[in-house]
Amino acid sequence: MLDIAIRHERGNFLLDVSCSAATPGVVALFGRSGCGKTTLVNLLAGLLPAQQGRICVDGQVWLDTSAGINLPTEQRRVGYVFQESRLFPHYSVRGNLLYGAQRQPGANTGAAQFDEIVDLLALAPLLTRRPGGLSGGEKQRVALGRALLAQPRLLLLDEPLSSLDAARREEVLPYLERLRDQLRIPMIFVSHQFDEVLRLATEVIVLDGGQRVAQGDLSTISRSAALRAIVGPQALGAVIDGWVQDNDNSGSGLTEIRVGHGTLRLQHRSAQSGQRVRVQLLARDLILATQEPRGLSVRNQLRGTVQSISTDADSDLIEIDIGGATVVARITHEATLELQLQAGLAIWVLVKSVSIQGHTYSRPAAPAS
């Protein structure tokens, strides 16, 4: 369990955040630049002197200003991966990896664990090199390995991908997914890119102006007004989880994914039967129909029931229950009136396969209700 209550004032900026989250898991801190994400992470690491608050990680109190407890950074055992990798230029990759491992009293960092991490992050070919000659993606993988080998109680990832271009980001993201799925280390992942959050997070905390404005699982947060205010109407879209169905006999090149009561077909590179997949359906990509549509090229038709209708700016947001999962569609107010949409109405949701992106996700989820 992660318990955080922090009040921190600097100039006229006030960070005031209280939250708790289950461990292990990936808590994403999401928000615009300047919302206090990095400040919060530095307070968690103890790199910023705390003014007032309490931090408790899996029963160990790191900070309690009212009780006069403030564990110095070097004793907190946080694994911190910075935006810029901050590798030590005068150590080899191996030296960097071992720096933290050699400083953990009583921690069992045997050769087996070293090999495991090197293997997990594919670092073997880099071990004898100096950080100066590595690419951005390689640097961040080494930084990850270095943090992990220090046997952290909590892994802090402060926008570890933001200094990388799209291709390098794609090179590191799968490793982060593997960490989440294979190691049981609580992680706090800071990002201002929702697609990263989508791929990694089990829980999301949305920060705005130094305040926690929303917290919850990804599906709930993906539909929240707090997130909408940050990502903007274009990027709004419900995140839903599904399972890959056996699709050997379809032969269509599309992967069938079970979501709610229905099935989504989408292009996915490497999905295997039974695997969990996380999908975001952008609100602007969804088409609604009050009758079962025929003769359309659209591959995906999901049956559902209108849950709620709200007006946002110049259009309407329709939340639709598709059987244990909720999606949200953005349509014009005119369309809402013409289709006579109202809560409880049965409806078809249409979405093109090519506009859906799926991400495999192997942590077992809570059973679907």
């Binding site: 070097e74 910075f82 901050r86 005068h90 100096r130 220090a150």
Partner: protein, 230 residues
Amino acid sequence: MTLPGEPELQALHLSLTVASRSVLLSLLPALGVAWLLTRRRFAGSTLLDAVVHLPLVLPPVVVGYLLLWLLGVRGPIGQWLEQWWGIRLVFTTNGAALATAVMSFPLMVRAMRLSLEGVDTGLEQAARTLGAGPLDRFFTITLPLMLPGVLAGAVTAFAAGLGEFGAVITFVSNIPGETRTLPLALYSALQSPDGDALAARLALLSFGLGLAGLLSAELLARGLRRWLGR
């Protein structure tokens, strides 16, 4: 190892001794002061900065005079040193080394500060999160990364120390075999009517020494930078 009858070699040997002792003497204090001035904000830091830089702007004779006043046989510190420890600095090689150290101290501090400012504190923070305490961080991260600056400071101070004149002659006088370093020997040779040839040889010696010092410093710095992965 004095070589009577060979005043050049004697002066060379003394110059090298005085310069290396002065570097050894000032290395640690300079490192401490550079660290304080770069990494700590405290009341009086500006004053400390000014005091450290004084030898750069004062006439060397004034520094020598101040040392004489403080550390002379009847000076407040000199008296105490002699009574309790039996250490006498005036008219000795060690005194010459001290005067040289004071004169080259600002050069050393400046070089070290410059390199310390170039060390990314983010790396120290990273070491902290990995479990390294303050001393551990200093010796494994900060000091190795500022080594080129420490080296540059030491070499500059050494080279300057070979030629220190005013403060030395004022504080410890010009005694053959004890305090008569290269520049003092050169000065003495110029004062004597038949010393022209000796003066020329001494000047040539100083010239070669300076060049060799600068070249070896550059080679060392190159090697260090490669080792640091820059």
